[in-house]
């Protein structure tokens, strides 16, 4: 279980989820069962099968390069409480 917790902690880091320890532990327990179901695929012999990334047969769906009307900046910024001078503010990144 400790190993599972460590691994979920690693995956949560990749997924940018800052989980509390208690939540990490309960999610690790859930994930053990879920990954067990996914593991049922591992023994299937699919070496000769090609992968289908997307079911759509569409390739290079082209259209005329006509300029459209962009969204109004104010409207876009209005969804953030941290808009500033037509930009989004974030905590300082570089010391």
């Amino acid at each position: 279980m400790a190993e599972a917790n460590d691994y979920i902690k690693y995956i949560a880091g990749l997924a940018k989820l800052s989980l509390e320890d208690s939540e990490m532990q309960s999610l690790a327990a859930d994930m053990t069962g879920i990954i067990g179901l996914m593991d049922t695929l591992r023994d299937l012999d699919t070496d000769s099968i090609s992968a289908t990334e997307h079911i759509s047969k569409i390739t290079n769906n082209m259209r005329e390069d006509n300029p459209g009307t962009p969204f109004e900046t104010e409207k876009i910024i209005s969804n953030s409480k941290h808009g500033m001078e037509n930009c989004f503010s974030i905590p300082k990144m570089i010391d």
């Binding site: 179901l37 699919t46 969804n79 941290h82």
Partner: protein, 486 residues
């Protein structure tokens, strides 16, 4: 007026013959929402004022003889489909205050026909779940039994139609999210062929699987809504270019004499509840009496559809949901001292538990060292499942199967058991994996009076075949059809 059995087609006739005005019809639904939605909790937001304004505009068109099929028809919209200026929350704390700057193409098409939008309805957070219990805001109840779930993730859509709190609804279906709640709530749900309806403005969950679909009281109502929302869209590069042909609504007649229908043996598993199994066999007898030939066939890859689906959809979800970082829109954690803390805490505090599970699973499946064993393996299963259906449709006009292994379960019954929730998607996910159209409609009721769903799945762009099969069955089943008593 009694709306409990009213269909879009009947409402059209009442509106066109001036037996009722659009405002009267809209007010009837708004009044019902006010009276009954406290019991059902299907709506997240009701747009009463704008609905009445839209009703007034629609009436002018009808009066001038310019009203189209959906003109003045009151509909609800799943709250992961954007409407400019109207909150679109995805039932998530993450988007609790999000107001989209644009409208989904499917909704624009409905509005172009002057449909009336009654409001936005509940769902599992980001459409992840099968009970609508994963909503951050409320738990929708099944109109047939309010101690039970309506299914999900389009539980608000299905419950609102079942309880006659809307004449029809738009849902979204990534692994059964239109069809499963339709089955649980005793209404009809249609997942169109991938690409038939634009995904522009549908908040992305798993982009290669997501598809907007209609929920209605009847097969014909679903066909009418589909006619209103389908078509290629330059704003969605995966939307299909196809020969339009006759309307989908016109495809419901003609019967199923000489139809060849296939039933996958792999779906007749131990997990299939006996009452659902009996309803399926009774339905087969009906279909044969109506002139179809039904036979079992084997498609071994279907046994692996659930893990393949969860790997693919979670991998895509983990990528799609990486956009929620607390910067441009969505929930933002307070008092963060660094950019990384802002992202990590905003996501941890803004997403609910099921969404976190899917993000973790998807990140795991895509992680270095696991990609081939999980994600790529799932993509190979997609090839096998698609090939299996290609072979099936070389022999059969449509494929028949139950929609769900069981009827609606009790609220809270499976909340702590995500694995059993995932396994219950066995009959619906394969249509999304292969991009096929599939429709669920009522075919019976269990001993508790809960609806049982029957599904027809078709070949790509085979909507007409499944609509015709479903409508023919529905006409025969009509004397047994029930509406919930609220």
């Amino acid at each position: 007026m009694d709306t409990t059995k009213l269909t879009i087609k009947e409402a059209r006739s009442l509106l066109d013959s001036r037996k009722i005005s659009v405002t009267e019809l809209t007010r009837t639904y708004l009044d019902r929402i006010k009276t009954y939605d406290d019991k059902i909790d299907s709506y997240l937001s009701v747009c009463g004022e704008s609905a009445l304004e839209q009703a007034s505009e629609a009436q002018k068109l009808i009066d001038s003889g310019k009203g189209e099929m959906l003109c003045g028809i009151p509909l609800s919209i799943k709250d992961n489909i954007c409407i400019e200026g109207t909150p679109t929350t995805c039932a998530s704390k993450m988007l609790e205050n999000f107001v989209p700057p644009y409208t989904a193409t499917a909704v624009n098409k409905l509005r172009a026909q002057n449909s009336v939008i009654l409001g936005k309805v509940n769902l599992d957070e980001f459409a992840m779940g099968g009970s609508t219990e994963n909503s951050a805001f409320k738990k929708t109840k099944n109109p047939f039994d309010t101690t039970r779930v309506p299914g999900g993730s389009s539980g608000g859509s299905a419950a609102s139609v079942s309880a006659s709190l809307a004449l029809g609804s738009l849902g979204s279906d990534t692994g059964g999210s239109v069809r499963q709640p339709a089955a649980f709530c005793g209404v009809v749900g249609l997942k169109p062929t991938y690409g038939l309806v634009s995904r522009y403005g549908l908040v992305a969950f798993a982009s290669s699987l997501d598809q907007i679909g209609p929920i209605g009281k009847t097969v014909e109502d679903c066909a009418i809504i589909l006619d209103g929302i389908c078509g290629q869209d330059p704003k969605d590069g995966t939307s299909l270019s196809y020969e339009a042909g006759a309307s989908y609504a016109s495809a419901v007649s003609g019967g199923i004499k000489d139809y060849k229908i296939g039933l996958p043996k792999e779906y007749l598993t131990e997990g299939l509840n006996s009452e659902v199994r009996n309803a399926l066999y009774k339905s087969i007898e009906t279909l044969e009496r109506l002139g179809a030939k039904v036979e079992e066939f084997s498609m071994p890859s279907l046994k692996h559809a659930v893990p393949a689906y969860y790997l693919m959809s979670s991998a895509e979800a983990s990528s799609n949901l990486s956009r929620y970082d607390g910067v441009k829109y969505g929930y933002r954690a307070e008092n963060c001292r660094s950019f990384n803390e802002l992202i990590g805490r905003s996501r941890a505090e803004g997403f609910g538990r099921e969404v976190k599970r899917r993000i973790l699973l998807g990140t795991y499946a895509l992680a270095s060292g696991y990609y081939d064993a999980y994600y790529k393996k799932a993509l190979k299963l997609r090839t096998l499942i698609s090939q299996g259906f290609d072979e099936a449709f070389s022999k059969y006009d449509v494929v028949l199967h139950p929609t769900t292994p069981e009827t609606a379960f009790k609220l809270g019954q499976n909340t702590d058991d995500p694995l059993s929730m995932y396994l219950a998607d066995i009959y619906t996910v394969s249509a999304n994996i292969a991009g096929l159209p599939s429709i669920s409609l009522p075919c019976g009721y269990d001993a508790n009076g809960l609806p049982i769903g029957l599904s027809f799945t078709g070949k790509p762009l085979g909507e007409r075949e499944i609509l015709r099969a479903a409508a023919t069955f529905e006409a025969d089943f009509a004397p047994e059809f029930r509406v919930p008593v609220l």
